[in-house]
Each structure stands twice: as structure tokens, then as C-alpha cells.
């Protein structure tokens, strides 16, 4: 039977939704197993079992987090060998994709990134050239490595099995040789809002916000959404680079994308045109964003956005 190995890296006290999505995909492919780095508490172990993991492969080394990417790839290669998995599923983050990249070379295995759906035969669906094409791709190798974007599947209900069997995998002694060391780590302050690439709703601002993201943050909070920005806004230093949506920033495809004070040039469009519903607010009726908006408002965002926020609060009581 086909076996899929899901890589879960340091989830802390509870599994992230994206990990449960990977487990759901793993079960749709065959037997699900987990390669788990970090502290495994009882609740997380039980949740892994409940979501179908039959075995958890943990590294013999505890210092993998002190290095960038490569020792984790060495550990995963050992976990693939121990489990006999033919598919490896990782998160489509910078670290996830790079671990996949190195694992691919170690295992002579094809890597597909930015996956938004996986068929039972391993065919992967993705969107390329900034959302202008949808493609299917397949690994031609014995093992396939897929980096899957968040919100790609609905999480299956727990099946209620017990904690899975735990197996320790020997990390090769030379795994950290020639690896770059992580010598400092500063946590960034949490905004309390959903992560930009995982959010159901994104409220994004550009040049037109003129340094003041306050009204957009209030609208995002009223809607339970994340805040994003165009490159013009991040380059101006009005908001951190992490918030940039576009060709050189993050690609998002939320249920709702509200664009305020963004002209919608190709660089921005590249990061958001696969959103389900696009709303645009801009003073300039000629802005290209109106060509792709489902609902467009020609007007002053400093009037429209606060009015919408008030109305949403009123209706939500």
C-alpha cells in the first residue's frame, strides 16, 4: 500500500491546521505516517493518531533547529528510508521548500512546489506564472516530494485511533557538517491576526493609504482577516516587508481580497489574482485593479473603509 510521510516541524502545544491538511492528503494517498521534529507532547501525539498517523518517526538528534535546513533534510531522508514512504508532504514555506529541495537531491526524487491539490495517483495541481495557468505535474521518480500550500483541502474528521507508534530515526553523524548555523533568533511580535497566506480574508493597502494602515487594520479586524500591502507601501516603510503581496512578495488566494489604494499593476496582480472575490477601492477610476475587481468603488478609502467597518460592526452586533 502507498505510504505518505508528513513532515511536521516544531508545532509546539497544538498541531497547526496546515499540518492536519497534510495528514488529510496523506490518508487520501494511502497509509499516513509522520516525521516529527521537536518536542512531542501527549496531546499532539494523540491528535496525530486521531488524524490517521500510524507511526511517528522522530530524529535521534535534538539540535536540528540550530542549523539551516540541511540536517533536517538528512533526517527526513533517513525517515523516508525507515518508513518506506513513496510520498513526502511538507509545508510550502521557505524552509519547507528548501528541505524538500535538498531531500530531492538526496533521494533522487522529484519535487513539486506550490501544490494546491493532489489526486489519488499523485498527480499534483498547481498554479504557475502568477496565476495565469493551472497545471498538473507528476514526479517520475520512486519517491515524490510535494510542498503543499495551506487551505488546499478540508481537514477530514478525526478517526479516533490512539497515539501512534513512535520510532527513533538515526540522523547521520555528518548531517550538520557544512551546514550554516543559526546563531540568533528574534521572535517577531504577533499581530493576533491570521497568517497572510492562510487567511480567508485579506485587506491590503498601497500607495493610497499614505502611511496610515489604521483604517485597513480596523476593517481586517472587523472581518477577522489579515492585512497585506503592495510593494509601494512596503518600500515606503509604512508596513513590514512580510506583508507584501505580489510578484516578489507573497502569493495569496483568499476567499475575499480587499484592495485599497492599490493601482493593481502587474507586480501586485501576480500575488492576488487567484483570490475568489476581489473588491477594489481607489480614487482613480482608471486604475488597472478595476479590470479584475468583482466589486469596485471609485472613492476615497479614508471615507469608504471606516464606513464599511462601522457597518460590519453594526450588523455583527
Amino acid at each position: 500500500m502507498a505510504k505518505a510521510l508528513v513532515f511536521i516541524d516544531n508545532p509546539g502545544a497544538a498541531l497547526k491546521k496546515s499540518s492536519l491538511e497534510l495528514l488529510t492528503i496523506a490518508r487520501s494517498l494511502g497509509e499516513a505516517a509522520v516525521a516529527f521534529n521537536g518536542e512531542l507532547n501527549d496531546d499532539v501525539a494523540a491528535a496525530l493518531g486521531a488524524h490517521g498517523a500510524t507511526a511517528v518517526y522522530r530524529p535521534s538528534a535534538t539540535d536540528l533547529d540550530n542549523y539551516l535546513v540541511s540536517p533536517k533534510a538528512a533526517y527526513l531522508a533517513a525517515a523516508v528510508a525507515a518508513s518506506g514512504a513513496d510520498t513526502v508532504l511538507v509545508e510550502n514555506t521557505a524552509d519547507g521548500k528548501e528541505i524538500a529541495a535538498r531531500l530531492g537531491v538526496k533521494l533522487n526524487a522529484g519535487v513539486i512546489t506550490d501544490v494546491v491539490g493532489v489526486d489519488a495517483d499523485g498527480t499534483s495541481h498547481k498554479s504557475v506564472l502568477a496565476g495565469s495557468y493551472t497545471t498538473t505535474a507528476k514526479a517520475r521518480t520512486a519517491v515524490a516530494i510535494l510542498a503543499v500550500k495551506p487551505n488546499s483541502v478540508d481537514v477530514d474528521a478525526p478517526v479516533g485511533a490512539g497515539a501512534p507508534e513512535t520510532i527513533t530515526v538515526e540522523v547521520p553523524a555528518d548531517a550538520a557538517a557544512n551546514a550554516a548555523r543559526i546563531t540568533g533568533r528574534t521572535e517577531k511580535p504577533a499581530s493576533g491576526r491570521p497568517e497572510l497566506t492562510e487567511a480567508r480574508i485579506v485587506v491590503a493597502g498601497g500607495r493610497g493609504v499614505d502611511g496610515d494602515f489604521g483604517p485597513l487594520e480596523e476593517l481586517a479586524d472587523a472581518l477577522g482577516g489579515a492585512v497585506g500591502a503592495s510593494r509601494a507601501a512596503t518600500d515606503a516603510g509604512w508596513i513590514g516587508h512580510d506583508y507584501q503581496v505580489g510578484q516578489t512578495g507573497k502569493t495569496v488566494s483568499p476567499q475575499l481580497y480587499i484592495s485599497a489604494g492599490i493601482s493593481g499593476a502587474i507586480q501586485q496582480k501576480a500575488g492576488m489574482q487567484t483570490s475568489k472575490v476581489i473588491v477594489a477601492i481607489n480614487k482613480d477610476a482608471e486604475s488597472p485593479v478595476f479590470e479584475i475587481a468583482d466589486f469596485g468603488i471609485v472613492g476615497d478609502l479614508f471615507k469608504v473603509v471606516p464606513q464599511a467597518t462601522e457597518e460590519i460592526k453594526k450588523r455583527k452586533g
Binding site: 506550490d114 502568477a130 495565469s132 495557468y133 493551472t134 498538473t136 548555523r181 472575490v277 475587481a293 469608504v304
Partner: protein
């Protein structure tokens, strides 16, 4: 210091871009030097200049792999300030995925380091066409180099590389010893433009044309045949069409909420 900068010739994102042919590969008409590679080149030039530049024996080699037109990415890099170029081109390379690309580039970098070793390989954080970000990590794996990726700052001090890597939840300080591979983000610097002097100087700079035979790679290891993944189908997404556009008459915020409610988005 001998630095190899990877530069890719990619379709200009200002225009519509297309997949074409039986392998669903990228149509490379209207191509330019990938914007994200300009940051890697700038980083290389700054490191070289801080050590006295070409006069002091520092080398910045712009390496591109791609069909005939890709030499333009190398030429542009020479105009911006790279000291020499290398263009790896072979019909057998067409349709290479990240794994096959990294295999060929690794062999090309070994070839460039045959007379004197390469100290630093610099790349952009992704190509603006494939956008997978796989090649830098795969190249580091194949060359056995420490990987310092997504650097938003970079200092080279003696044989020590220190970089900042910004993630969503935290920022990390990464250290490695040369030789190393570093990929940089668009936050690291402000790339310079080629000036008249640079454009003239570029005409005298050398570009090495490399084939697979030159770098000791067999045709079966690259291209569609040597790739570990295949794009099976490609479908152009229907263009989005404009919906309702209104002009604010004092109640557009309310109308927006009506729209969201009708779409069940509240």
C-alpha cells in the same frame, strides 16, 4: 574573492506569459534578466568592491543557463559590473526541471572553479518565472556547500559569512564558512543601473560559451529526459472580468457591506 552569480533570462512579467509545446515549457520571447537576480549581482559587486574590486584580483562571474537568448542576461550583468560571464547552452538542456538545472549548474560552477576555487555562489531568492526557490538549495546540496538562503543582509568577514533571514514568525542570524552558497532577497540592497561607461566596458569583457560536453554532463542527465518531474497538462486561466464598479456618493461603505453580505463573506 571569486564569486559566481547565477543570472536567469526570464519572460518579462510586464507582458502576458505563456506555456508552450509538448513539455509545457515557458515561452522565452520578450525575456529580460530576472529582476530578483539583480540583487544577487549587486551583493556580489559590493563584496568585490569592498575588497578592492577587479584590480585587487576579485572576480564576479555572471553565469546563465539557457537557450541562445539567455546570453543577454549575461551581457546585461557585464554592463552592470560583473567582470566576466559564462553561458551554459545546449539543446539537450531544454525542459530541465529544478533537479536537472541544479545538476547542470553545479557542473558548470565546478568547471569555473577548475583553475582557482569559487569562494561564493550568489543567487536570487527565486526566478520570476518558475518561482520554485528550489535551485539554490539543490545547488548547495550538490556542491556540498553551506546554504545561507533568503538573506536580507549579508556580511563577509574573512572566511565567515553572516546573514539575516527574515521569516514570518522570527528573524534569524545565519553564519557559515566560505566557500558557501547565498541566496538574497529583494530587501538586501538597491541594485545599480548600467551606466554609459559600464556599457562600453562590457564590450571588452569575456563570455565563456559552455556546452554539456565542456562541463562533463551527459545529455541524458538533463532536459526533459533527466528531469524528475514532468508538467503533464497546462491550462490558461480564463482572465478575470470586471464586475460592478460604483462611484462613492457617500454610502459606498454601506454598499460594500451589502455586497459582502450577498456573497456570504461576512
Amino acid at each position: 574573492m571569486k564569486i559566481v552569480v547565477l543570472v536567469k533570462h526570464v519572460p518579462d512579467a510586464q507582458f502576458d506569459r505563456h506555456l508552450t509545446g509538448p513539455g509545457n515549457t515557458t515561452d522565452r520571447d520578450e525575456s529580460i534578466l530576472s529582476e530578483l537576480d539583480e540583487y544577487a549581482l549587486e551583493a556580489a559587486l559590493q563584496i568585490s568592491e569592498a575588497r578592492g574590486g577587479a584590480k585587487a584580483g576579485n572576480e564576479v562571474i555572471a553565469l546563465s543557463m539557457g537557450p541562445a537568448g539567455a546570453v543577454n542576461a549575461v551581457k546585461k550583468s557585464l554592463q552592470i559590473g560583473a567582470s566576466s560571464g559564462a553561458h551554459l547552452s545546449d539543446d539537450a538542456l531544454a525542459g530541465s526541471d529544478a533537479a536537472a538545472t541544479s545538476l547542470a549548474l553545479a557542473a558548470a560552477i565546478r568547471h569555473l572553479g577548475a583553475d582557482s576555487p569559487v569562494d561564493l555562489v550568489l543567487t536570487g531568492m527565486a526566478s520570476t518565472d518558475g518561482e520554485t526557490s528550489l535551485v539554490p538549495a539543490q545547488l548547495a546540496e550538490r556542491l556540498g556547500l553551506p546554504q545561507v538562503t533568503f538573506a536580507s543582509s549579508l556580511d563577509v568577514d574573512g572566511d565567515r559569512v553572516v546573514a539575516r533571514r527574515d521569516g514570518d514568525a522570527h528573524a534569524e542570524t545565519i553564519e557559515a564558512t566560505l566557500p558557501a552558497l547565498v541566496s538574497v532577497t529583494d530587501q538586501i540592497n538597491e541594485p545599480r543601473y548600467p551606466n554609459f561607461k559600464g556599457i562600453l566596458a562590457a564590450k571588452k569583457k569575456k563570455i565563456a560559451s559552455l556546452s554539456l560536453a565542456d562541463i562533463g554532463v551527459d545529455a541524458s542527465q538533463v532536459g526533459a529526459a533527466g528531469s524528475w518531474t514532468a508538467v503533464e497538462t497546462a491550462e490558461a486561466r480564463p482572465p478575470r472580468t470586471a464586475g460592478t464598479i460604483i462611484t462613492d456618493e457617500g454610502d459606498a461603505g454601506i454598499k460594500l457591506v451589502d455586497f459582502l453580505a450577498a456573497q456570504k463573506l461576512l
